[in-house]
Symmetry: C2
Subunit: 67 residues, 2 copies
């Protein structure tokens, strides 16, 4: 398992966190996604390293952006 951290901007509430979590969890190989709204921290546990462009696309699909 690999753990990677990202910072997402624009999240303001638990609904935002849920939207980001849902999209990132849908990426192939993702086992766990921890989102902290306050800090914008998103920690992703996956079977193999993810392409940052895939993570960025998922975050943008949810309506937010990688810092």
């Amino acid at each position: 398992m690999t753990e990677s951290s990202y910072t997402v901007t624009g999240m303001t509430c638990g609904h935002c966190a849920g939207a980001v979590r849902e999209e990132v969890e849908a990426l192939a190989g993702v086992a766990k996604v921890d989102v902290d709204v306050e800090s914008g921290s998103v920690v992703v546990t996956s079977e193999a390293p993810l392409a940052v462009d895939d993570v960025r696309a998922a975050v943008e699909e949810a309506g937010y952006a990688l810092a």
Copy 2:
């Protein structure tokens, strides 16, 4: 039709507005709900005047509060 205005605290984003709109729209007789996140304004159009306690309960069900 009757139009009533309320102020809801705690909404921060479009998801919050959607959650409030969904719960208030579910009240009997409600025809339209306009939510403005910035101001917290919620304007409800209904067939007859609503009991404020019913509106408060719907807003709280969504996870927010009447000011």
